[in-house]
């Protein structure tokens, strides 16, 4: 083939192309050494001609390279090395002294058998290609892919977080409007309650006075003419005056009782929605439970008996409005777990640096496969339109923000117990809280 081509041209190309070319005979003596090899090794053809490759370059990995070349001689096949496994054959400076970032020229080598007329391999020609540029690009590409994978993963995480935040926002917005409504209503109710209360006081006094007057009249009744007496006793019978006297007092005292109940509900509502205080506070969790129970009492009255087993743990640094939300969700969930009527037990206690609250019911329980999922947003087993499935996910997030824990223990058919663990101390007092849903409510 070579003899059909211009030998001068071929010689020129071998000598001058940007590719290392050298050849050895079967004793590993150098028989060809092109310009590229000269430039990069610093050793010229004249100085190397006929010398042993391994004597001239003792730094070469001799046993491996010898074997490799021997194989080519014996089998007459090509052989290769790639920079990916073997960075280089000869340690040459690479062509990017400034922008490189690698310490030597990365090389791909090809070993070619050169056969004599009888087909026996006479020489092995080795070409050496500078792959530094390609390798660098490939390495940067690989790095870029790693970085972009990492970024994608982060984005994925952010999307999940965003979703959570959105749910939380949705729920807290709902609660915020309920809170504002409650606060507004409470405020509106407070005024009329005030004057009804004071009127009721006046009424009571007036009635007492009237009764005093009546007693005097009654004592003088016998002095009236007989006809008038008969008329009076007829009317007294008609209106059941004896009963009316007693009932009047009872009515007033019952009304006062009812009114004080209304005032407590209003103040609980205000407490619950924390119109006046929000953010981190030192709070009594048992009081939180009582407030919450008052607010939801209507919801649960006909479904459950409430049993309190308070252990009087220390006060806890928390956002009480949020703890109230958690308790409300848990108590409402519990009340919805009874096919008929059941019992909800609320316990408190202290454990190390934590205070715990348990909300336990003897309802239907949660099957194990659902226990993994109940804290997921939108997980619900309740009929469409009944539950949003957000309750527990919001609870979980609130407790997590308190650096506490929310643990479920449940057995199907026996009941469920949610345990809230809250660290007693955070050092967060005075910091403002992100979910201050009620701070803009009218006072």
């Amino acid at each position: 083939m070579a003899d059909q081509q211009n030998p001068q041209l071929s010689g020129f190309i071998v000598e001058r192309m940007e590719l290392g070319v050298f050849a050895v005979d079967s004793s590993f003596n150098i028989v060809l050494w092109n310009h590229f090899m000269h430039t990069h090794s610093g050793k010229s053809w004249e100085s190397l001609k006929g010398t042993n490759l391994f004597a001239s370059f003792p730094e070469l990995p001799e046993s491996w390279l010898k074997r490799k070349i021997e194989h080519v001689f014996a089998l007459g096949n090509y052989a290769f090395t790639s920079w990916e496994q073997r960075a280089y054959l000869f340690r040459f400076k690479h062509n990017r002294p400034i922008t490189g970032g690698v310490d030597a020229m990365l090389q791909n080598c090809t070993f070619l058998p050169l056969r004599d007329a009888k087909g026996k391999v006479e020489l092995v020609v080795i070409t050496l290609q500078d792959c530094t540029d390609n390798a660098l690009i490939q390495q940067r590409l690989a790095e870029a892919i790693t970085v972009s994978d990492e970024e994608r993963r982060k984005q994925q995480e952010l999307i999940v977080k965003l979703e959570d935040a959105k749910n939380q926002l949705y729920q807290s917005e709902k609660l915020a409007s309920i809170g504002q409504l409650a606060a507004g209503v409470a405020h509106e109710i407070n005024n009329p309650i005030g004057f009804v209360n004071s009127n009721l006081g006046t009424l009571e006094r007036n009635v007492t006075d009237l009764m005093k007057l009546m007693a005097v009249f009654e004592s003088k009744e016998t002095e009236l003419p007989k006809d008038t007496q008969r008329e009076l006793s007829k009317i007294k019978k008609e209106i059941d005056f004896e009963y009316l006297k007693e009932d009047l007092a009872a009515l007033i005292s019952e009304s006062k009782e009812g009114l004080s109940h209304v005032r407590r509900i209003v103040s609980d509502l205000k407490d619950f929605s924390r119109v006046d205080q929000s953010g981190w506070q030192i709070a009594d969790l048992e009081k939180c439970i009582d407030t919450t129970l008052n607010v939801v009492s209507n919801e649960i009255r006909y479904k459950a008996t409430v049993v309190k087993e308070y252990g009087h743990p220390p006060l806890v640094e928390c956002v009480p409005g949020q703890i109230n939300q958690v308790l409300m969700n848990l108590v409402v969930n519990a009340s919805q777990a009874f096919p008929e009527r059941g019992q909800i037990t609320l316990r408190t206690g202290e454990e190390g640096m934590y205070v715990w609250i348990e909300v336990e019911d003897n309802g239907i329980g949660i099957p194990p496969e659902n226990q993994q999922r109940i804290f997921e947003p939108f997980f619900t087993t309740k009929p469409v339109g009944t539950g949003t499935g957000l309750g527990l996910s919001v609870c979980y997030n609130i407790i997590r923000k308190h650096e506490g824990d929310l643990i479920v223990r449940s057995e199907v058919g026996k009941g469920t117990c949610f345990r809230i663990l809250l660290p007693i101390f955070h050092g967060k007092m005075g910091e403002s809280e992100e979910i201050e849903f009620a701070n803009s409510a009218p006072q």
């Binding site: 046993s63 014996a74 052989a79």
Partner: protein, 202 residues
């Protein structure tokens, strides 16, 4: 499309592969000073979808390492070498490596195995039928992979292939390598022609 090789052609190919590999095995045995055993080459036309099962058949349920190399010239195709994973160091010191191998050296050994065996077999055949064959640099398919994962038929550009299978063993080294030469169906014609020419010269 070609229907494959005639019986004569198949016999000839088997004989040529046998001789080619035999010579190569002798040469290697002389360099390594170890005995080399070669199985009689098995030739078949297989559906691409059957290739994973074929490879699984060589080794059974054990992790394997595999590498491949393309050849071109008188006929074109790819050589695939599958080595059970536990054997992968078997050839290393025959290849002049010293000491424990690190992970890139293990890769290099796998590349060298496919290069040596593929060259021996394909080169041996080509030389006898007077065809010029060149080889591209080999590449790695995978280390410690399931034999069924060596080839994914849905990623192949062919639906039928000629497979030539040889099992290569070095005594005292517990190395068994399975070599498969895959020829796309439309290359079988070129090989058949070369075989015919060769048969004429006999």
């Amino acid at each position: 499309m070609n229907k494959g090789l005639s019986e004569d052609q198949t016999d000839a190919l088997q004989e040529l592969a046998n001789i080619g590999m035999g010579q190569a095995g002798d040469s290697l045995a002389r360099i390594w000073k170890e005995f080399v055993h070669l199985s009689i080459p098995k030739i078949a036309i297989v559906d691409a979808s059957r290739l994973p099962a074929l490879i699984h058949g060589f080794v059974g349920d054990t992790a394997v390492s595999a590498s491949r190399q393309a050849f071109h010239g008188g006929f074109r195709g790819e050589v695939l070498v599958v080595v059970s994973a536990k054997d992968r160091n078997g050839l290393a010191n025959l290849m002049g490596y010293e000491g424990q191998l690190d992970s890139v050296e293990r890769e290099e050994v796998l590349l060298d195995i496919v290069n040596l065996l593929g060259g021996a077999c394909v080169g041996g055949i080509a030389q006898q039928v007077n065809a010029e064959i060149g080889f591209s640099a080999p590449s790695l398919i995978g280390e410690d992979i399931d034999p069924l994962d060596v080839i994914h038929p849905d990623q192949l550009a062919i639906d039928k292939a000629l497979s030539l299978e040889v099992c290569f063993q070095v005594e005292n080294r517990s190395l068994t390598a399975h070599l498969v030469i895959l020829l796309p169906n439309n290359e079988v014609g070129a090989l058949a022609e070369l075989l015919d020419q060769f048969l004429c010269t006999l």
